[in-house]
């Protein structure tokens, strides 16, 4: 059952991710990206990480992609295809070669984690799957965030705050003197 669901969700996620790249219309790309995020949320659910799944939907599929869609729709970025000049053939060939090389590197990366059963895989540390199941996912994550990882957590918050202040500063209305 889990395996079947994994193949359905994983297949949909991969197809949607491919469609993001292959679509000419940027709005379709954004919609397919939302679809891919939703499928990944489904994969989190299969792993028993319901908190992560819901946060994935709220943050990535909900908030982040909404801003993407806003920008694309309001700027009315058209779906024009790429135009090739006569001398650009060579560059296209190089691009395709580069993409193929990337794909093989990514494939290698995926397969090593699949075949390597070393110590970094599987449950470790004080919050293994069994403990998380007992006290619930949300509590386990909260415990980790506010005890062991409090410093990275706070640093991330300050970084986000700094980014926000920066955006407000850049977007402020400049008054004429």
């Amino acid at each position: 059952m889990e395996l079947i669901l994994f193949f359905i969700l994983g297949g949909m996620a991969l197809t949607a991710a491919l469609c993001v790249v292959l679509q000419r219309n940027p709005v379709y790309s954004a919609l397919f990206l939302i679809h891919a995020f939703l499928c990944i949320a489904g994969l989190y659910l299969l792993l028993g990480a319901e908190f992560m799944a819901v946060i994935q939907i709220i943050l990535y599929a909900g908030a982040v992609m909404m801003l993407f869609l806003y920008v694309i729709m309001l700027m009315n970025i058209g779906g024009e295809g790429p135009e090739y000049a006569a001398g650009e053939r060579m560059r296209r060939v190089i691009n395709i070669g580069g993409v193929l090389a990337m794909i093989s590197v990514i494939g290698l990366g995926i397969s090593t984690t699949l075949f390597y059963g070393g110590p970094q895989l599987g449950p470790k540390g004080s919050y293994g799957p069994r403990i998380a199941e007992n006290i619930g996912n949300t509590k386990a994550i909260a415990h980790l965030l506010f005890t062991d990882y409090i410093l990275p957590f706070e640093i991330t918050s300050i970084l986000l705050l700094a980014a926000m202040v920066g955006v407000v500063y850049l977007a402020r209305r400049i008054r004429a003197h």
Binding site: V54, I57, G62
Partner: protein
């Protein structure tokens, strides 16, 4: 092939029946809330309203449905067909999905039952409880679903290739995003007090009375959160004081202006679905859900909680209609100001107050 577990089969059958009945009741209610709203608005405005089809207009929703299906289905030229068709589907599906995590009753079926000489157990996946899916992140799921629902609006706005529709969609999403934040933060107080995000446990927490009279509902212990959530619910459902999305004197009809026939009907359904869902959520979080007197009596314990829940929800739906008939529309910039400068700080203040109250009086 492993042997099928009889208890599992029994529970699954019960769950499927529960979903079927719940869906049928929901759809019927959805149709009749339109009638209730039209009749009540007419009553408030001293006119008759639709009372011709059937006794007191009781067959009006049926007539409306037939009319919707028989109207010509126009797809405007220049519309982006896929997005245009997908938008009402996304919007109505997400509006109905919220009902899966709302507890509508306590126990609706005995835990074990003897059928044909064998005792079946109906407790797997809380099949015998009055909720379709009792998940432990239910509050977050509500917000996840509503954030996906926003895409229905912006897709409708963009897909119809019309500037008024796009403006309506943009307004709707902007309002929903800013008010979702305030609504989410008000619930933090409840999560802190109850220590859970499961709706069923939140309702169970609200049992009992203070001083033997006042029910232990969160609208009494968290009044600030209650008011903020109520206002945010109006903004999120796009109902009258905040209905800028279809603001007819500025935007004609907003995101739904290019839709006709049943596609328009779907938007209409989704609007009332949101109203019922918002009322049910307010009841669950702040008005004690299915709690009420005498729910432990042996004869009534299966039905009484459902009746309490339905009555409370209907009172809130009535409140939504009442407000629509009473207040004029807000101004759009004031809506954003209210959301970000008043409701959000007030929600944060509530988060600050809650721990102090918990320290002083315990988890009340």
């Amino acid at each position: 092939m492993p042997e099928l577990n009889a208890d599992l089969v029994a529970s699954v059958i019960l769950i499927l029946v529960k979903i079927g009945v719940f869906f049928a009741v929901c759809m019927t209610l959805l149709a009749y809330v339109t009638l209730v709203e039209r009749r009540l608005l007419a009553f408030f405005q001293e006119r008759h309203g639709p009372d011709r089809v059937g006794w007191q207009g009781l067959l009006q929703p049926l007539a409306d449905g037939i009319k919707m299906f028989l109207k010509e289905d126009i797809t405007v030229s220049g519309a982006d067909k896929v997005v245009y068709i997908l938008a009402p589907i996304v919007y109505v599906a997400t509006a109905l999905m919220v009902f899966t995590v709302i507890p509508f009753g306590n126990t609706i079926w005995p835990e074990t039952m003897e059928i044909g000489g064998r005792v079946y157990n109906f407790t797997i996946a809380s099949a015998n409880r009055g909720i379709i899916a009792d998940v432990n992140v239910a509050i977050l799921i509500v917000f996840a679903i509503s954030s996906i629902g926003t895409y229905g609006l912006i897709m409708a706005g963009w897909g119809s290739n019309n500037k008024y529709a796009l403006l309506g969609g943009v307004r709707a999403t902007a309002a929903m995003i800013s008010y979702e934040l305030a609504a989410g933060l008000t619930l933090v107080g409840i999560i802190m007090t109850t220590g859970t995000m499961s709706m069923m446990e939140i309702v169970e927490f609200q049992s009992g009375y203070w001083f033997g009279v006042i029910p232990k509902w969160f609208c009494f212990s968290q009044p600030l959160a209650f008011v903020i959530f109520l206002i945010a619910a109006f903004a999120e459902t796009g109902r009258t004081p905040f209905d800028f999305t279809e603001c007819e004197n500025e935007l004609v009809a907003g995101y739904q202006m290019e839709y006709s026939s049943m596609k328009f009907g779907l938007f209409y359904m989704a609007e009332y679905g949101h109203v019922i869902a918002a009322s049910a959520l307010i009841v669950t979080f702040f008005l004690g859900g299915w709690q009420g007197p005498f729910i432990d009596l042996a004869v009534l314990k299966y039905f009484l909680p459902i009746i309490y829940f339905s009555v409370k929800t209907f009172v809130l739906v009535f409140f939504f209609i009442w407000v629509r008939a009473t207040f004029p529309r807000f101004r759009y910039d004031l809506l954003m100001k209210l959301g970000w400068k008043v409701l959000l700080p007030a929600a944060l203040l509530n988060i600050l107050i809650t721990p102090f109250v918990m320290m002083l009086f315990g988890r009340m």
